[in-house]
């Protein structure tokens, strides 16, 4: 599965192309602009010494032009960033030498938004965008979003600017924005980082960083771009070369171990597949393989929905009632699981159960941040990427399946199909409770949206947890971009930007992106609304406006009650009221068309219809819906 990409300018032909491009760009600029550029790009001292009559020294071949060509050779479609002086050289190269295309600069209003947008984009598109930030203040803003992406096993490619040489730190601000080890503060939750000290070093590390990020387990990487290196003239005669990018084939399971797993699965009476991030490549292939595996075995699937691993309404999907699915299980096949311990605990408290795991989590572990969950007893552990291992596993199962076993499999599958139908029917009945209530139930909200988007090529890009998982129950999800999971690190502030990043990825495919947006999360960085409007990113946002940090309401209420103190004051610090936030006006203030607040469920259908019309014209739209807590 190796894949190589060629530089669009030719890896050895960089210098000639860059010089011509730079000359052309500079020729179109007035002298004042060029002088300003020289000052802004870190050559202030040179300009100041030149005297009033002298022309400013022009850097016509800055290092950042070469850095850009390296990025172009990798193939980034977009650059998500809030502007920052420490990567100003790169910024200028992108918009002038690169023509603001491949990558196109998407203006973000907070570094946490930049990275979270990258997070959402990568889960839809299966590859990262270029993301940039200041090395100090910017990275500190971005850190939470990086942690989410790290926990969620998502390749985020972050470049940060920094000035190492004290001679080039121009003033107080540059000093407080400079750091000895720029990536150090996030090293515990990125897969790899580097601080190149030459342009050739930069090229190699940039390509290496992409390979590392894209090799399972896919994870964030950070590359430091020194400001001097960005801004200084490329030395004459320097023979720079952009290395060839060849993605590493993902690690597949050991053949003997895979054969043993197949043997156990074929022999089991009631095997159950538990999937966390099994369909991890951000493509149709993972989902297809999961369906083939389950149908070959006629085994039930419990999707933990950290990605869409299995079609939500497939007859073998048992995710609506995992306890029932596990009640009679004698073998669990866990594929890139999340909290497997928690999923299996109800069963293991009563009886032993055999477990096979296939996960790249066994290949990568850190000490300080303990996202790896409780230790699980297993009978067979295969350290490998699950998606890459599935073809061999499926073939091995097919080889071992006798006609007798196939008959048994079919009988098992028929029972599971009945259970699946019952579970779905129960979910629909449950949705009727509170159907006409105000505030509007999350079931009603979800159903009203589904009724109008189901005939589009849609993508539900937000997390379903805070709307009681209704979309996972009621929506027929069967493509990888129909659902992309949640935050990873459970850090609030992910939702609004990540769904917008997903919408950027969906836009070029003509897909319709839906975001059911929690109110507290929106207020972490509402500037994403401006980003959506400015860049004409089509996305339908429905505020799940329960006017509270509702999870915390329940938490404080529980604590107060456990202490017998009553709940009279639990609104303090948890409710978002007095005043209520008017999200429609907030959106309008940033150029996003909107309406609401809507409290009567009968008004929802019309609002959604109006929103869809706007989004299908290529613009964002927001509907403020006043909702129940969950």
């Amino acid at each position: 599965m190796s894949k190589s990409k060629k530089s669009r300018v030719g890896r050895r032909g960089f210098l000639r192309g860059a010089a011509v491009g730079a000359a052309a760009a500079l020729a179109a600029k007035p002298p004042v602009a060029m002088a300003q550029q020289a000052v802004q790009s870190g050559t202030a001292q040179v300009a100041a010494n030149a005297g009033p009559a002298a022309e400013a020294r022009i850097i016509d071949r800055p290092g950042s032009d070469f850095m850009l060509e390296v990025f172009k050779s990798i193939g980034f479609d977009y650059l998500f960033a809030n502007p920052g002086g420490s990567f100003g050289g790169l910024h200028e190269s992108v918009i002038n030498i690169g023509g603001n295309k491949d990558p196109e600069f998407i203006t973000c209003m907070h570094e946490e938004s930049s990275v979270a947008m990258s997070h959402g984009y990568a889960k839809v598109e299966g590859k990262p965008v270029l993301t940039m930030a200041h090395g100090t203040v910017g990275l500190q803003h971005a850190a939470m979003a990086l942690y989410n992406a790290w926990c969620d096993r998502v390749p985020v490619y972050l470049v940060i600017g920094n000035t190492l040489d004290v001679q080039h730190r121009g003033g107080e601000v540059a000093w407080v924005h400079s750091v000895q080890d720029a990536a150090g503060m996030v090293r515990e939750f990125v897969k790899w980082d580097d601080t190149p000290v030459s342009l050739q070093h930069f090229a190699e590390s940039a390509v290496r960083a992409y390979k590392v990020a894209m090799t399972p387990p896919r994870l964030p990487v950070v590359l430091v771009a020194d400001t001097e290196m960005q801004d200084n003239q490329i030395p004459a005669g320097e023979n720079l070369r952009i290395p060839k990018l060849t993605l590493t084939a993902p690690p597949a399971g050991d053949p003997a171990a895979v054969a043993e797993a197949a043997k156990m699965l074929v022999a089991a009476e009631n095997p159950v597949i538990v999937a966390g991030r099994a369909a991890s490549s951000g493509s149709a292939e993972g989902l297809r393989l999961m369906v083939e595996l389950a149908e070959t075995l006629q085994a039930g699937v419990i999707d933990q929905y950290q990605r869409l691993n299995f079609p939500s309404h497939h007859r073998l999907n048992q995710s609506l009632n995992p306890r029932a699915a596990l009640a009679n299980a004698d073998l669990v096949l866990a594929l890139e699981p999340g909290d497997l311990y928690g999923t299996l605990r109800p069963v293991r408290q009563r009886r032993p159960i055999k477990v096979i795991t296939i996960t790249s989590g066994d290949l990568y572990l850190k000490s300080n941040y303990q996202d790896f969950q409780r230790f699980n007893d297993t009978d067979l552990s295969i350290g490998a990427d699950a998606e890459a291992t599935l073809p061999a596993l499926i073939e091995a199962i097919k080889r071992l399946t006798t006609s007798d076993r196939r008959i048994a499999f079919e009988a098992r599958g028929a029972k599971l199909a009945d259970l699946s139908r019952q579970n779905l029917e129960q979910a629909r009945v449950a949705a009727t409770y509170g159907w006409d209530a105000s505030p509007i139930t999350t079931a009603r909200l979800t159903t009203e949206v589904w009724a109008q988007v189901k005939n589009e090529d849609w993508s539900y890009a937000s997390e379903a947890l805070f709307v009681s998982n209704w979309p996972l129950k009621l929506w027929d999800m069967n493509k990888h971009y129909h659902y992309i999971g949640g935050k990873g690190g459970a850090g609030i502030g992910y939702g609004a930007p990540a769904t917008l990043g997903a919408a950027v990825a969906n836009k070029k495919h003509g897909r319709f992106t839906v975001n059911i947006q929690t109110d507290g999360d929106m207020m972490y960085a509402p500037g994403i609304l401006w980003t959506a409007a400015h860049h004409r990113i089509p996305i339908l946002t429905l505020m799940h406006n329960n006017r509270a940090y509702h999870q915390e309401v329940m938490g404080i209420q529980g604590t107060a009650n456990h202490r017998g103190r009553g709940i009279d004051r639990i609104h303090i610090g948890t409710k978002i009221d007095d005043p209520f936030i008017d999200y429609a006006k907030l959106a309008q203030s940033m150029g996003v068309r909107s309406e609401g607040p809507i409290s009567d469920p009968k008004d929802l259908g019309g609002a959604i219809r109006r929103g869809i019309e706007v989004v299908k014209r290529g613009e964002p739209y927001l509907i403020d819906v006043v909702t129940q807590g969950r």
Binding site: T432, Y433, W435, T447, S468, G564, G629
Partner: protein, 118 residues
């Protein structure tokens, strides 16, 4: 296991007795006020519909548990529900809360809601 048995008993086994004595309207109004004031709705929803992502916040309406069972459970709940001691909500107040929950109409039949019938 005990926890789940308790929840099951709370939600499934104990409803129904109330129907023998329809509550007075004033009790229903007071019960609604208490249900909202004391935050029951935060987990169970304003009309007792339950939180579907949280099996520890089951549906309570329109068939709440019998009063004795309700009081016993609220005082010493199982699972994730926090206890409500009598100084926070008295037995009489819980009776009104129960009256409110019992007064909530049955939802419309599934077949009557076109959006839920694909």
């Amino acid at each position: 296991m005990k926890k789940w048995m308790a929840i099951w008993a709370f939600v499934v086994f104990l409803p129904a007795v109330h129907a023998q004595n329809p509550p007075a309207p004033s009790n229903v109004e007071n019960g609604k006020r208490l249900y909202l004031k004391n935050g029951c709705y935060e987990c169970h929803g304003t009309v007792g519909q339950g939180a579907q992502a949280n099996p520890l916040a089951p549906r309570l309406a329109p068939r709440p548990p019998a009063l004795a069972a309700l009081i016993a459970y609220v005082r010493k709940p199982a699972g994730g529900m926090p206890p409500y001691v009598s100084k926070v909500m008295s037995d009489a107040e819980l009776e009104d809360v129960r009256a409110y929950l019992a007064s909530i109409p049955e939802p419309p039949p599934l077949k009557s809601i076109a959006l839920l019938n694909p």
